[in-house]
């Protein structure tokens, strides 16, 4: 069995078509992307006992909010701590483990719903499922980077676009299944968890079976690496542990963290924000449409911006994210004040596309700076920035907003300060990106170390 999962077993032959790898990566990312649609379960989970309406013994929304938060924390932790392991065992074993964790997490949560034990949901979806998210996120991305050395950005964009698209599948699928299973005695969440957990397990296993790694020294047909490497793109490799000793790792950590925090500024409260900033002009349905539009731009941006970074260069692409993001965030309160809803929506959509682009361009940026050999493990460690932003971002934004409202600021105006703070965070990100340069010579691995591998 261990042979079946081994790297040797999944090393492709020289004629292997590399275009079979992106769908294998997508088969995993489209599943784990469901995490961003977990909120569709929140309202039904508040009436598991009462069914038609919530009873005093039912779970509160604040209690349920921890499930998603735990999943994001364990996404970062598992990706960070399993970094070395996933580089050692290869993508098939990692993706299969991710399938077991993510599918198993759903099944354990189903038991938790049936027995009304919240800790089973925390451990099931939050901890075990979160580990599935982390392992499933990183492994296909680093594999794709190795298959597409000529289009790293496009390759990572394809996979990470799947993560954005996963919520678009997960949300309507969950709603359809809950409607199908609900009755006078059940809200249908446990049954939906069982079906979705099984479907996601199967799909992720298919991805793990189809994944392949390129043979050593493989290059795409007709592609010749530039004799003189481009600026800020190395052909050498930095070891996973050594990467943590470079300032570049921490600058990239901040770049990701700030970009994600700023994006969450809009994404987390888009529906309420647009209704309050255009009082009376936006219905509840239209606000839900606004959230849908942002999701589409979030997904599309992951592919478009990351692909563009192959031509613009990674550093320049992040300059665009931070400069344009700062400008657009600063303009949003003005558009709201003028009642210019078209420009408001267009700006928010572009901001969201760059939020998505920030996620998908970062693995290619890492590969450019640290080389491809340990990029999966290094990417895993960098994802702690996402976890941090996922927790701190909403806390920061909600705290500032509530504080202002308590001080007597009108609800619509309370967003102005929040949006300016987001613009400020992006300016700091701009400076971090400005400080990025090539890794110092001493951090690169020697040729013999690359050949023999270093523990």
């Amino acid at each position: 069995m261990s042979g079946f999962f081994s790297k040797e077993r999944i090393t492709a032959g020289h004629g292997y078509n590399r275009w079979l790898i992106p769908p294998a990566a997508l088969a995993v990312h489209l599943c784990i992307g469901q995490a961003y649609a977990f909120s569709v379960f929140n309202e039904p989970l508040t009436r598991v006992l009462g069914v038609s309406q919530s009873t005093p013994d039912d779970w509160k929304l604040t209690t349920l909010g921890w499930i998603f938060s735990l999943a994001i924390v364990f996404l970062g932790l598992s990706a960070a701590f399993a970094g070395k392991w996933l580089e050692k065992v290869g993508p098939r074993r990692t993706m299969f483990t991710a399938a077991c964790c993510f599918g198993g997490g759903f099944l354990l949560s189903a038991i938790g719903v049936k027995t009304h034990q919240i800790w089973l949901l925390y451990i099931g979806y939050g901890v075990i499922g979160g580990c599935g998210l982390g392992l499933g996120y990183v492994s296909p991305v680093s594999t794709l980077i190795k298959w597409f050395p000529d289009h790293r950005g496009m390759a990572t964009g394809m996979a990470i676009m799947g993560f954005g698209g996963g919520a678009m599948i997960g949300a309507p699928l969950a709603v359809t299944l809950m409607k199908f299973f609900q009755s006078d005695t059940t809200v249908g969440v446990a049954e939906t968890f069982i079906v979705m957990g099984t479907l996601y397990f199967i799909s992720m296993v298919i991805g793990s079976l189809a994944i392949r790694i390129p043979p050593p020294d493989w290059k795409p047909e007709g592609w010749v690496p530039p004799a003189v490497p481009k600026k800020m793109v190395t052909h050498r490799h930095v070891h996973i542990d050594q990467a943590l000793k470079t300032p570049q790792f921490y600058l990239l950590w901040l770049i990701l963290c700030l970009n994600v925090t700023a994006g969450i500024g809009i994404l987390g409260q888009a529906s309420v924000m647009i209704q309050e900033m255009f009082k009376g002009g936006i219905s509840k349905e239209a606000a839900a449409g606004f959230v849908g539009l942002l999701s589409l731009f979030n997904m599309g941006g992951r592919f478009v911006w990351s692909s563009a970074s192959d031509y613009l260069g990674r550093k320049n692409t992040y300059f665009v994210y931070f400069a344009l993001g700062t400008f657009l965030y600063s303009m949003l309160p003005g558009f709201s004040g003028q009642g210019n809803i078209v420009l408001f929506i267009a700006s928010a959509a572009v901001i969201m596309s760059m939020y998505g682009g920030g996620f998908s361009t970062i693995p290619a940026y890492l590969a450019d700076i640290f080389g491809t050999k340990y990029v999966g493990g290094i990417h895993g460690r960098l994802l702690t920035a996402w976890s941090t932003a996922g927790i701190l971002g909403p806390v920061l934004i909600n705290y500032i907003r509530e504080y202002q409202i308590e001080q007597g600021v009108a609800k619509a105006d309370a967003y102005t300060t929040t949006l300016y703070i987001m613009a400020g965070l992006l300016t700091v990100g701009f400076v971090c990106n400005l400080l990025m340069k090539e890794v110092h010579e001493k951090h690169y691995m020697r040729h013999d170390e690359v050949e023999n591998g270093v523990e």
């Binding site: 999944i10 032959g13 078509n17 769908p23 392949r212 349905e285 449409g289 849908g292 997904m299």
Partner: protein, 43 residues
């Protein structure tokens, strides 16, 4: 390389189309559902 599942295999174009369809059809469905929801913004 002898133990590899693909040491002699070349991928069939049909397999390629099938595998891409396997991921793009659900993704297309999800995008369509989201677009339907987003249209409410323009009504």
């Amino acid at each position: 390389m002898e133990n590899s599942e693909n040491s002699h295999a070349k991928s069939h174009p049909f397999l390629l189309v099938l595998f891409w369809a396997y991921v793009l059809i659900p993704l297309g469905w999800g995008v369509f559902q989201t677009l339907k929801k987003a249209m409410a913004l323009f009504h």
